[in-house]
Subunit: 251 residues, 2 copies
DNA sequence: ATGTCTTTGTGAACGCGTGCACAAAGATGG
DNA sequence: CCATCTTTGTGCACGCGTTCACAAAGACAT
């Protein structure tokens, strides 16, 4: 997973636990697939398998939404799709701005998963004057100078930050000041925001590092022995065990 | 956060809790920034603030790695950078292949955060013959037919899937069969893999949906009343409360 | 109508993660 | 060498999330 929520200490948002909310989109996707195949009903066991979770967990998750199943039969697919969509707020239109139209920003603008779920890319914003006016994914890029005007003019409440790390916090501040209250951050930085603003972070490099950790464990239980041998105390280690600190650069 | 680990029930990987492992990259980034500013030592309080976590949590996290701090002083920045890097397996070279060179795949290939932490993009693979040979981020794209050869020839153990949803599982199967044991999945699908293979998922659309949920709650506590009124049982609801099921499309 | 069989919904136990609060450790100054 | 002050490392308690296991509920056949 990318990394979890930043702000919000674990507040359950009306009886619905955060962990459940995070799984609802997963269920929704599986249900949508079933709906396309015109499957009328599905059991918790089948749906859980499709979503890759435990069936008891799925039932408990749904129980937070209400009793939408029929014992002995299962859940009505169409009805459940609607209920989850409504619960997630996907029945309304969410205008979104993407700030930072580099490789990643452009990829996001072109990403089908955005437009397909009630999320509408209202504007693309970049600080590079040379980008201004250029169409990306059919939408002309606008300059950062007009950020506030764009946010307020379109009633945007969700912003996506895909800028370099250094630009993220200033951009974030301007977005929040202009009225954005939810931010999806792709920049490798910790954003600080006032209370009431939600930030979710997606960090590609962190995900890889977590994989590397597990990979390392799988690779060498025996090879780890030699590396583990060099465990010195700070005082003894002048500049690192094997003479030099390994080259690690900022993400 | 993107979404968490898929497989692996919560196995702590040698006394080090998963939650801690997930935070190590965060600490590492903050420490690297300090290192660049030539800051010699840092207290748990300062570092925690920079990483956006609780200081007690940070100290406990570090305690799993060993006693690397000095009471009354703090932690030696350089030494800690090295210890965390080593723990995460970042002191070695990890060849990575990216499969699916669309908008996202290209963005990933160009993403600096990959190359900068011991991750080396060993190959780019795409199913489109027209892409073959074209350089992306300075690396020529190779055809899917050669996937096994590429994996085995370069000793690749980490694969990144950035294909459309439909192609993800077949690609995953081939990667695993060829020897890949860690997968970072950007396709909006649940991948099934044999035991011993780690899968982490990054799902852009799910992150937005979670934001939308909280946004909806913030937006309307009062407007929610009218929507909440239409809570029928499946039997009563013929085809959905207000006559029609809202248009929701697959991600 | 009654019995059987399937599947939901949930009570309860357990385990992990978090955060408080404090004692131990060491640095620093006199 | 002793006192003071800072900061680490951790014991402990609490709460969330997960999972098991089962009773209640309803469909369906006879």
């Amino acid at each position: 997973m990318a990394t979890g929520r930043t702000h919000r200490p674990a507040t359950r948002s009306r009886g619905i636990p955060e962990a459940t909310v995070a799984r609802l989109p997963l269920y929704l996707r599986a249900l949508t697939a079933l709906s396309e195949r015109s499957v009328p009903t599905v059991s918790s066991e089948e749906l859980a398998a499709a979503a890759g979770v435990n069936s008891a967990k799925l039932r408990k998750d749904f129980s937070y939404l209400g009793s939408y199943g029929t014992r002995g039969v299962g859940y009505d697919v169409e009805y459940l799709v609607y209920q989850i969509s409504r619960e997630l707020g996907l029945t309304q239109d969410w205008p979104v701005v993407i700030v930072g139209i580099g490789n990643l920003g452009a990829a996001l603008a072109n990403y089908g998963g955005f437009a397909s779920r009630g999320f509408r890319v209202a504007a693309l914003i970049d600080a590079d004057p040379a980008m201004a006016g250029k169409p990306v994914a059919g939408i002309p890029v606008q300059h950062t100078d007009d950020l506030e005007k764009i946010i307020e003019g379109n009633g945007v409440s969700i912003g996506v930050i895909a800028t370099p790390a250094g630009a993220a916090q200033p951009v974030c501040d301007r977005l929040v000041a202009a009225g954005v209250t939810s931010i999806l951050n792709f920049a490798p930085t910790v954003l600080s925001v006032p209370d009431g603003v939600d930030v979710r972070k997606v960090d590609l490099s962190i995900e890889l590092q977590i994989l590397a950790f597990h990979e390392q464990r799988k690779a060498g239980e025996e090879a780890a022995a030699e590396t583990a041998a060099v465990t010195l105390t700070p005082k003894e280690a002048g500049k690192g065990p094997d003479g030099d600190v390994p080259a690690v650069m900022p993400a």
